[in-house]
């Protein structure tokens, strides 16, 4: 697997002298990764993303994206990178949905005919073709999020960075965004780097999870490895998924159960526990 980004023990000082150190494990993103960064508020997640985008320059440490320094080669990196910020309202620039999605294409000199085809394709992928002529500020939160996602994905970037993409969405919209992300990762091979507090979505979304605790990358692993490590999660002020918590309690009471992280695994375990064979 090709390495797309690496962050090694960086230190950043904001103008108000707030210092953020991201040390511990190396942060590595590989091709086609679906990577989730977990951490409480103020743990440095957004700082980490800003460095990956080349918006901040570290005082110390190393940040490499596509084998180069994103801050120095900003223009080179941003062409291969898509970003969806937490506040999508500020991200949607175009006067209509179509204009916004076409923004990066036309600014990168892609001919209008080709841009039209690319816009239609991504609108189709995300199921928002019917919104193409709508004015963004009259859209719902979920629709705006999808428009921002379309604008970020239209250039078919190798790496897509999403800062808390599920915040403020209802369960249906969360599900739709989750489905869209998995589809884009599958179809275009785009690696995803997502920060979120929606821990219950992590098992479905991620293949790799990092835990940030007060500036330290303290744990990295598969969702199964990370979400069942209650000690690290609690230390980082994170709540484990409700299924993990429930089955851990059942195990503490002496029941022979494992620690499932998805609904399907939990269902399987419960059926085994009640001796249900599935044959009437």
């Amino acid at each position: 697997m090709r390495e797309l980004a690496r962050v090694r023990c960086l230190r950043h000082v904001y103008p108000d002298r707030t210092e953020v150190c991201l040390c511990g494990l190396d942060f590595v993103v590989q091709e086609k990764d679906r990577l989730v960064v977990l951490g409480p508020n103020g743990s440095g997640k957004t700082t980490l993303l800003a460095h990956l985008m080349g918006l901040l320059e570290p005082v110390e440490g190393e940040v490499e994206v596509f084998g180069t320094n994103p801050c120095k080669d900003f223009d080179l990196v941003r062409r291969r990178l898509g970003v969806v910020f937490q506040n999508v309202d500020e991200q949607i620039i175009g006067p209509t949905v179509w204009d916004d999605v076409a923004f990066s294409l036309l600014n990168n000199g892609i001919p209008v005919d080709e841009a039209c085809l690319m816009v239609e394709e991504i609108l189709e992928d995300l199921g928002i073709s019917h919104l193409r002529n709508k004015i963004p500020h009259y859209l719902s939160g979920g629709e705006k999020r999808k428009v921002a996602l379309a604008g970020a994905m239209v250039m078919k970037p190798e790496l897509l960075i999403l800062d808390e993409p599920f915040t403020g969405l209802d369960p249906k919209s969360k599900g739709e965004i989750l489905e869209a992300l998995l589809k884009l990762n599958e179809k275009y091979g785009t690696a995803l780097v997502v920060t979120t507090h929606e821990i219950d979505l992590v098992p479905v979304l991620a293949n790799k999870v990092y835990v940030l605790d007060r500036g330290n990358l303290v744990l990295c692993g598969t969702p199964g490895e990370v979400l069942t490590n209650l000690e690290v999660l609690q230390k980082a002020c994170l709540e484990p998924p409700i299924l993990v918590e429930l089955f851990r309690r059942l195990a503490d009471r002496g029941l022979a159960v494992g620690t499932p992280i998805t609904m399907e695994e939990a269902e399987e375990q419960l059926l085994l526990l009640v001796g249900y064979s599935g044959q009437g």
Binding site: G94, P95, D99, A102, N107, H137, Y138
Partner: protein
């Protein structure tokens, strides 16, 4: 606040006038304004106003609310009429009717044409940087408006507004405006970063290029009819 309301009327409207293109409606506006300028009698100006009111009603726009907006020019033209036209009342009435007619025509077009269409049309003549500035202002306006609404609501809920405490109200709302200024500054910085990340090279696309449609015949025909009617009276 009313700009958001006018934008809402323009975007959500379904009447044939709403469906006509921006250039056709701007031509309609030019014809109406020419009619207002060329009207020589109270009857001609009055008839033009009657037609415009009928169009507003027919386009399902809220007549009462739009009438309210025209009161500003009517008020100032009344002051001018009272001060400048001595003794001869038809001249004074003409000044007021002309102001009222012009305001109605402008409001009718504003309420049936989204800003986006107007900016796209202007983009054909104005420098890109100016049109981009207008578009970014348009997007930011609605975001700041929502922030401002929330902030003012919070001030009221937290007891920062009292009908009798004028100075305290001024102080609290002044502080809120300062906060909005800081918010807008931060927002501008974030938007700058986003535009850089999205590859802004000068030029926000506005693919909303007006195409001629049968609906365009309506404002063009109506505008011409108004002008002919006014000139012939």
């Amino acid at each position: 606040m009313d700009l958001a309301y006018l934008d809402h009327l323009a975007v959500q409207g379904e009447s044939p006038l709403h469906k006509a293109s921006a250039p056709a409606k701007l031509a309609f506006l030019a014809l109406c304004l020419a009619g207002v300028i060329m009207a020589r009698s109270v009857l001609a100006a009055g008839l033009e106003i009657a037609v415009l009111l009928a169009v507003i009603w027919w386009a399902r726009l809220p007549l009462g609310r739009l009438f309210h907006y025209t009161l500003y020019p009517v008020f100032f033209s009344s002051v001018f009429a009272l001060a400048g036209v001595e003794g001869f009342w038809p001249s004074g009435v003409m000044v007021i009717l002309k102001a009222f007619g012009a305001a109605l025509a402008v409001i009718l077009v504003i309420c049936s044409t989204s800003y986006v269409e107007v900016f796209a049309f202007l983009g054909r003549f104005l420098p890109t940087i100016v049109v981009d500035g207008l578009l970014v202002t348009y997007r930011s306006f609605f975001q700041l408006l929502s922030k401002m609404g929330n902030l003012f609501r919070t001030i009221r809920l937290r007891g920062g507004y009292s009908p009798l405490a004028l100075f305290r109200n001024i102080r609290n709302y002044g502080a809120a405006l300062g906060l909005i200024f800081i918010h807008s500054w931060e927002m501008a910085e974030r938007m700058y970063k986003i535009m850089a990340l999205r590859g802004y090279q000068g030029g926000i696309p506005s693919g909303n290029k007006a195409k001629f449609s049968p609906y365009d015949l309506l404002p063009l025909g109506l505008g011409t009819a108004i002008l002919v009617m006014v000139v012939s009276i």
